[in-house]
Symmetry: C2
Subunit: 214 residues, 2 copies
């Protein structure tokens, strides 16, 4: 019982920090995107495909990981300002961590900050990070039963990107049932399909999701 109370206090405090962070960035004309999904859903690969197509000087990336900096190195190779956040085992990022990361960033010329969240379909969904939009990356190899099993992630996302579409013919993933379940949970959710690995379907995501002037 005590744990739940503490958790509630943590969430309320987190939401306050997230709101003020969102306002801080709005005042500077900067958009904050939160990229979520399971480990291996393809978040970082998708981000690489996006960075290949945009003016990287306008973008900063905050990489969330338990321990390593391997994803941050992949992203930094594009010449993007990158901050690595290591949680040392904790399963989610919190708004206070993002605030700290943003204060470390030189925001001059930055129009979009993208958070590449920790791989987790449960805990990360609970924590607002001050984002304008949540983008969830979900791969067809994860199975079409997941929206009903892990509803919070699908309820709270603004955009859902179905990744690894090149593998769908090798699986029993029922995309119609999947979309139906997502829209039952979240009628406003925008759904896109792509294969980040095969570099297919990226332009649609780019134009609509990131609202960048190229």
């Amino acid at each position: 019982m005590k744990v739940i109370e503490v958790n509630k206090r943590v969430l309320e405090k987190n939401d306050d920090i997230a709101s003020s962070l969102n306002q801080y960035l709005h005042d500077r004309g900067i958009v904050l995107m939160n990229l979520l999904g399971t480990p291996g859903s393809g978040k970082t690969t998708l981000l690489e495909r996006i960075l290949e197509r945009v003016d990287c000087s306008k973008i900063a990336v905050i990489e969330g990981d338990l321990y390593t900096d391997s994803d941050a190195k992949r992203i930094e190779a594009f010449g993007v300002k990158t901050i690595q956040l290591n949680t040392y085992g904790a399963c989610h990022l919190e708004a206070s961590m993002i605030k700290e990361a943003i204060y470390e960033l030189d925001l001059n010329g930055i129009e979009v900050i993208i958070i590449d969240n920790i791989g987790n379909l449960v805990c990360t969904a609970e924590f607002k990070l001050g984002e304008d939009k949540r983008i969830t990356v979900f791969s067809v190899t994860e199975g079409n039963d997941k929206p009903l099993k892990y509803p919070l992630m699908f309820q709270t996302t603004d955009i859902l990107i179905i990744n690894k579409m090149d593998l769908i013919r090798h699986t029993n993933f029922n995309i119609e049932n999947f979309k139906k379940d997502v829209w039952t949970l979240n009628p406003q959710c925008h759904i896109y399909e792509c294969s980040a690995y095969r570099n297919e379907g990226i332009n649609d995501i780019l134009n609509i999701v990131f609202l960048l002037n190229e």
Copy 2:
């Protein structure tokens, strides 16, 4: 800071319950297995392939899910005693929940209890559930960089099953690097390869992992 202290107390209390639960089951000649992995790694499909091959009267299954009972229904169809544990949003199972589930089970004739854990590569690894063995199911579509990114799961598992081997040729999964990283973290880890969906490689897992007399 306070959250971490509470978390530590929770983990210590959990470990005590797990130890006494393990002793309780040992005294009755029952083995407890903990099946872990990300959402969509193939835990429940693998369990189905196993149940097709064994005497189901000797097995009970505890299904962990946030809300649904869809997996429990899939397992119950095999005539296995099944208990559904719903955490209502919480990201992991705790030993006290397993204890409660086991007290609900008629243990007469049961030799093996299998916990089909919540899909999560982070939080579930922290909680001992009184198991004799941890079995982690990991699919090649999740990427070979994950052991170093999510080390606790790979450090604490006794057996690692690489699933979806039928898809490996469509991915850039480097199985040699993957195994090298797993064994660096956990030299004792037993690794098996299979495709639960294609029903391939199941017999080896069955004989060695479940120690069942068929």
